[in-house]
């Protein structure tokens, strides 16, 4: 934010000066009158100049660039990984407006964890940290060894298999408890099957997906 002070014989004169110097119409300026000024007696004794403070709207301020966000996200994850004492490295990029961080060099799969649990935890924490220091929201995706894509494919396979089973036995079947993002993959995989209906069942973060054969 930029602030300026102007003086004049009257407030009007001070405002006029401000408009001229800042090259903006009166309406665009945020004007605060510090001293109204007075003409004094006969215009000689006790004349006081009018003083105003003008604040320019914030548009001049620089927004942190997207590149900085990516670097910050990358550094945060890299710092955490080095504190876990792994030699894993991070590469960063952007995709569809999301920041993507890829961990490589974690041969044991330690950073992925069972069913991607550790990867999700890292992603959650990095998102929290990055979004805390930014005014706008960005989404950070953390991946390792292409786990997200592999998991997605295996979930689709599970969905199709369970869908077949439901049709065959004519009864609803359920998946294991899944987090929202993974349930979504199941729902979408079976969305176009006219013989099946899908619903989430359960409470909290983890819910099962119920795959129901429609009666024909």
């Amino acid at each position: 934010m930029q602030e300026f002070e102007f003086e004049g014989k009257t407030t009007e004169e001070a405002i006029e000066k401000a408009c001229k110097e800042l090259n903006r119409p009166k309406e665009e300026l945020d004007i605060e009158i510090l001293e109204p000024g007075s003409a004094g007696i006969f215009g000689i004794v006790g004349t006081k100049k009018a003083k105003i403070k003008v604040t320019l709207p914030q548009e001049e301020q620089e927004e942190p660039t997207e590149e900085n966000d990516v670097d910050f996200a990358k550094k945060t994850l890299q710092d955490i990984l080095s504190l876990i004492s792994t030699e894993a490295e991070v590469t960063a990029g952007t995709e569809d407006g999301k920041i993507t961080l890829n961990i490589y060099g974690d041969k044991s799969g330690l950073l992925i964890g069972r069913k991607g649990k550790t990867l999700d935890a890292l992603q959650f924490i990095v998102n929290k940290i990055v979004n805390k220091s930014l005014s706008r929201k960005v989404q950070v995706v953390v991946d390792s060894e292409n786990y997200r894509q592999r998991r997605r494919e295996s979930l689709i396979q599970i969905a199709l298999k369970l869908g077949d089973k439901a049709k065959r036995i004519g009864k609803p079947v359920t998946t294991n408890p899944l987090i929202p993002r993974e349930r979504r993959i199941i729902h979408l995989a079976l969305k176009d099957d006219p013989q099946l209906d899908t619903r989430s069942r359960g409470e909290g973060l983890l819910k099962k997906v119920l795959i129901i054969p429609k009666r024909s």
Partner: protein
């Protein structure tokens, strides 16, 4: 272990200078005690304990790496 939790906690709270982490080492299991400013308690716990759970998951991955077990306790 201590540094890992301190790093994450400091990045999440509004008053990083009030973050205190103590590590009580046992033979197999270490207890990591995390203390933050009262106003920041919610930040390290998170909605339905999600942030605390994520920190515990990362902590257990880090402990596995060195063949140990660690427990995170958030002190009120």
């Amino acid at each position: 272990m201590k540094d890992l939790i301190a790093y994450i906690a400091k990045a999440l709270v509004d008053k990083p200078e009030e973050v205190e982490v103590k590590e009580i080492e046992g033979e197999q299991t270490s207890v990591i005690e995390l203390k933050v400013a009262k106003e920041d308690l919610g930040k390290v716990i998170g909605k339905q304990g999600r942030t605390a759970r994520a920190m515990r998951t990362i902590l257990s991955a880090a402990s596995t790496k060195i063949n140990k077990r660690s427990v995170l306790e958030i002190i009120e």
